[in-house]
Point group: C2
Chain length 478, copies 2
Amino acid sequence: MAAAPSLLILHPRLTLFTTTTLRPLSLLFPHHFSSTTTPNATGRSISLSSPPSDYTQKIDVNPPKGTRDFPPEDMRLRNWLFHHFRQVSELFGFEEVDYPVLESESLFIRKAGEEIRDQLYCFEDKGNRRVALRPELTPSLARLVIQKGKSVPLPIKWFAIGQCWRYERMTRGRRREHYQWNMDIIGVPDVTGEAELISSIVTFFKRIGITARDVGFKISSRKVLQEVLSLYSVPETSFAKACIIIDKMGKIPMEEIKKELKLVELSDDAIEDLLQVLSMKSLTELEEKLGDAGEAVRELKQLFSLAEKFGYSEWIQFDASVVRGLAYYTGIVFEGFDREGKLRAICGGGRYDRLLSTFGGDDIPACGFGFGDAVIIELLKERQLLPEVPVEVENIVCSLDPDLQGAAATVATLLRGKGQCVDLVLESKPLKWVFKRAARINARRLILVGKSEWERGMVNVKILSTGEQNQISLDDLH
Amino acid sequence: MAAAPSLLILHPRLTLFTTTTLRPLSLLFPHHFSSTTTPNATGRSISLSSPPSDYTQKIDVNPPKGTRDFPPEDMRLRNWLFHHFRQVSELFGFEEVDYPVLESESLFIRKAGEEIRDQLYCFEDKGNRRVALRPELTPSLARLVIQKGKSVPLPIKWFAIGQCWRYERMTRGRRREHYQWNMDIIGVPDVTGEAELISSIVTFFKRIGITARDVGFKISSRKVLQEVLSLYSVPETSFAKACIIIDKMGKIPMEEIKKELKLVELSDDAIEDLLQVLSMKSLTELEEKLGDAGEAVRELKQLFSLAEKFGYSEWIQFDASVVRGLAYYTGIVFEGFDREGKLRAICGGGRYDRLLSTFGGDDIPACGFGFGDAVIIELLKERQLLPEVPVEVENIVCSLDPDLQGAAATVATLLRGKGQCVDLVLESKPLKWVFKRAARINARRLILVGKSEWERGMVNVKILSTGEQNQISLDDLH
């Protein structure tokens, strides 16, 4: 009863390339040509083993460059991290929201020279609309707040955990996607908003074992720059651009910084004064420069005072060089950093009181932060704080006889109905295999369904940690 | 101290269009021109109120066509749904995984004429790679299984909840994105796999209040078609295509179906016989046609027998017309349907034993299902089973004096440290406002920080349901 030759289509041998090595692995996959022919009603045979040739192809088994798969072990870690993001947000009374990962490109187009704008993952869809995979969540938040209008009472306290994308031509070990935890407060003009946000991040750090010895927050205010620039009659249009340039300090040479600042109409005097102020690490020093009447100094002092009451003074320090790389910040800005100085910023945020009007809405005072899933994992690895998150399935249920597969299903259903997690062995397997699987999934109990016990309404229950074994009736099983 | 005219930039009034109405709403947004001028160290003033004009624009406040925002009330419903997806998957011992939402287009290119292929949300990235927002999760699963190779012991039992995209030019009330819950078993050739998967969906339905009176599963096998087609020496290459055409039955006229089947080389006799078999709703009738020696009948009978043991017989029925619209199914196929017949399929799945080889991997027997987040919500609405998922923040903490804002922060921090969720009032607000907010967030306790109590280390705690009020010392607060 051989397969009809006309039905047996040869599967082409494939050469596989991986993007990570760019070398052909020349893996010649063995294929299942053991034609599992099936006699049918008329005695003719058909072949079920050869794949339909018209969609055979070679694929790259890796996810697209810069993206990640989450196999179970990575997914458990991601869930652990997100669980803490969620729990902390809820502890602070924030409500979860989400937005489309695909937004109109126009939502992210700002002309201040931000890195995030240059790396926009944008394209034209089949309906000729310019769209982009979101590089950040804040513009979508602003869009939703404008859309909701007065139907949502202020203050709004929302959090989100969303995937964000950036297209970088050069790879520097940076991925093209990451998840970002955001918390935002809309409708609170006072610096209590920023103080509350930093408190939530500190709470998060503490929960995952990170201390003030590992991490600190550099805090400043865009109003510091604004007050300096106002001394030199710098046009307001230059402000956001100047901030973005200043954010590159330490990443590109100082001469380059100065050149770019000149291009946005800052005089040599203004630049010198600005750079001098930006080097300040003391609020007292800043107060000497700007006086105590301005908002910059007043708000910063208030924030440091509130930090004491919240109990996180040891985590924060004034550092005028922090401006953050997003154009829309208007007041306090902050940045979480690794005290060993090995990693990029862990998180960052600040006040953005005027973002909504740039989208055509009424301005509402607002502040928020973004916290990525990449640097924190690196930090936890560095500090050996990465948790073990093992797979754990309470029970494994197995029949000792192929005829009892249905009985095993009954037992599994019974236990699951009582809220017990069950890995049901779906094939006839030797006991050795079952014990190995039980160990892999960290099962606590092995429940064996054997013929003689089953006839008496009983199953064999083995506690795997002790080896203790008992026959238990179905009624008593829970 | 008026703002320097050179710094005050007028914000253009905007007209806002929404895509849903396509009518100009002519909303003339009032803007904050109440120039909050700030005296600075030198006595000069700067304006902080006008937005930086170089990124002012008008935006559409709606998410892109076919996509959704998730404001808090919708997010709570999504979390409720996903929570049940997760809990059921874990009850069945499945491990969670995820894959990139952006994959290589080649992963989804199949030539069998599937609807899913025609609606691919694909584009060229800046690096000239053809990429696509995933329309389904199974190809990514197959990719990851091939990549992992022998490092993962079989059977693999994985689940995922991922956003999937399809680009439809015509809108028929269908969205361009939805979330899909998938459960897959890789490495089990027996029909116990399919039986286990259907059991998990039934468990899910029961948990959310859906009964066998609301929903059923139509079950068949692609092997039914294969055995019929083999009687007429239909080339194997036509098989997947014929399945896709048959899946359109009831959606396009029967004459069209027949015409398309002829185009994939089915004779008139084959078509007539096929359509006659596809109308069968009884396994006995099918057995009379195909005999009892073939895999189709044997596996279907086994599945119905296992369903009894799992305890979900009343949920399932044989229906030969079910073939499902994906090219890669090879055996049992099933579809969850609304018994009132108002809605599209709620979920669907089946066996796909030969998908891996189409990607250049070794074939491993596999089965799985996809369960979208859209139709189930419609069904719950229809049956008035949609849950109330209210926002709940246990405590609201408020200072009675602006000077005590820091004290309120201390109280909030204390409670949060004890695991209590706290909405901290971040501004000075009248008590009436605080009670209104407390009601909105369903707070159980209102904690007021007043001057005289605070000086004695006490706060005022009001149980909102009873109105009971006590002064409690910070040490006793938890």
